[in-house]
């Protein structure tokens, strides 16, 4: 039986189904399109994947709750939310982030100089949300997706650590 996930790649959401169909074979459905994959481990934390004759070489590492998939020349942040598990955990304490929500986190320690939006604002993808000063530079942190600002966790003047939640966009 296929497992179902809500997958987020660099802010874009996909409905994902994965089914094991052989020793090294996976059937993957992304949205409406289905693919059969031949997947082999290639060294540590890397996979050689064939779709038909097309070859992909992907490294995967964990960064907190994110997975970072390194294809050659690029690194893509991915989150996979197990749909079944999310359903079971509904209402529980530390449940995973709901699909459709995106969190803006501090990339580095610094000081909040300005918050450019307020709760309820509609924002565009990559619109500036918060200005943080770090390493003597002012950095405008941008929205990971288009949507509505539902939470703002910081105020100007506040010091933040790397990974601190700044803003939630839904």
């Amino acid at each position: 039986m296929p497992m179902r996930f809500v997958a987020t790649i660099d802010g874009a959401e996909h409905q994902l189904e994965v089914e094991e169909i052989g020793a090294h074979a996976l059937r993957v459905k992304v949205g409406e399109r289905q693919f059969d994959l031949d997947v082999y481990p290639a060294g540590r934390a890397a996979f050689s994947i064939l779709i038909g004759n097309r070859a992909f070489d992907l490294g995967v590492v964990h960064d907190g709750d994110d997975l970072v998939v390194a294809s050659r020349g690029a690194a893509t942040r991915v989150t996979l939310i197990d749909t079944a598990r999310r359903a079971r955990h509904t209402g529980a304490g530390a449940r995973p982030l709901a699909a459709g929500k995106a969190q803006l986190k501090a990339m580095m320690p610094g000081r909040v100089i300005n918050v450019l939006v307020k709760v309820g604002d509609e924002v565009a993808h990559l619109q500036g949300l918060v200005v943080v000063e770090a390493m003597k530079m002012e950095n405008e942190l941008k929205s990971p997706k288009a949507g509505k600002v539902t939470e703002i966790k910081v105020a100007p003047g506040q010091t933040v650590e790397k990974g601190d939640l700044l803003v939630v966009v839904e």
Partner: protein
Amino acid sequence: MFKRILIANRGEIAVRVIRACRDLGVESVAVYSEADRAALHVREADFAVAVGPPPARESYLQTDRIIAAARATGADAIHPGYGFFSENAGFARAVAEAGLVFIGPPPAAIEKMGDKVEARKLMAAAGVPVVPGSPGTLEGEDAVRAVAKKIGFPIMLKAAAGGGGKGMRLVEHDKDLASAVRTVGSEAQSSFGDGRFYVEKFVTRPRHIEVQVFADQMGETVHLFERECSIQRRHQKVVEESPSPFITPEMRRAMGEVAVKAARAVNYVGAGTIEFLADADRNFYFLEMNTRIQVEHPVTEMVTGIDLVKAQIEVAAGMPLPFRQSDLAQRGWAIECRLYAEDPAAGFVPAPGRIDTLRMPEGPGIRVDAGVYEGAEVSLYYDPMIAKLAAWGRDRGEAIARMRRALGELVIAGELTTNLQFHRWIMDQPRFIAGDFDTNFIAQEYHPAALAAPADAERVAAILAAAFIAQRTHNHAPAASPQAGATAAAPASAWKTLGRLEMLRR
């Protein structure tokens, strides 16, 4: 020749100097802050000495500790790399007073070129073209306005103690002059402890082109042609190349001659760089001299075949330059990309962190100068540049093609974010490929959306499948915390075993 050289630096340039030492049969001494105990330069060196806490001013910028480290390890010379102490005449003097050799120019040359206003005067006197502007520093709005009248707007107000892209303000119209004069003075005072400033005509569509010079202690002075460094973001170089796709053979010859003249004017010794601004009409103006090895020196090494760092050491040891001007020629084309731990999708904000997977490109025409390794922590305390990739080709087209290939081979991921994809974007830009750019290129052309991944359904499927296996492995791994829900996962399967094997394989 020296017996043992201490490198008063860290990161890729420290490793670069260690390599030059190896090639010369000289032993190397690394110094390290507490944050750098397991840094690559410590791993590569023959000896290593701790010099203090993570902040550079408490470790890498502690003159006494650096000199004590040299003494403790029996080093007889100190190479400063770039940044840190490399253009600090006081440090150079302290090294000499300790009976050690500073691998760099004489302190007097550092000082003369360190004061931007004095350097400008000196260069003008030596017949080196400088950007039209005030002969020296100015005081007050009226003095600035008088110069502006003569040279015309737009103008740049520049802090005398600035440099490297810092302490500058553009004034486009007379109405903005008053406030600019006020702020640049107070900013310069607070940033550099020196409020003096001067005025230069603002060169529109400027290209940043620099000439590598080299001189020995006997006064032999040569140049090693130019480097084109116009691809910049936030006034910092991102991509450099040699030759420049912009200049003509005549301009190259003229720039080389002027650069040698500039170096001679300060009795220069060792490796130095004369930075020029060139305008669209191919006029070029002295900007500043960097009295040290540059980040981008590999492109010159690749086209001339000269090992500049090795030559620095040889010249510092009193040897004559191992090449004459007539020995030097440019062959082919070289391009360098600086790999930064930064997020190009978020205004190039530094994005350090651990590197969990790293595979560097290999093959024909590729050179890698890295300061990191798989598993290394890229620290917040220091420069976010983690590696340099350089590609050589018979011509510019081949160099670009090889750089594209190298960028495409590079695998890097972890807590950090890098500008790898941004470099791939640059290499694909028609204006870059045509050589048609100036220092405004990135500001004009780049938008974070340019880096969005292409909608390739098969690639997306492959990425998600890889993520799926890794996540499942993670959830089933013994290291995962028990409350992470491992028991809630799918039934036993070959994938679990596969994943676990991968995870535990040493």
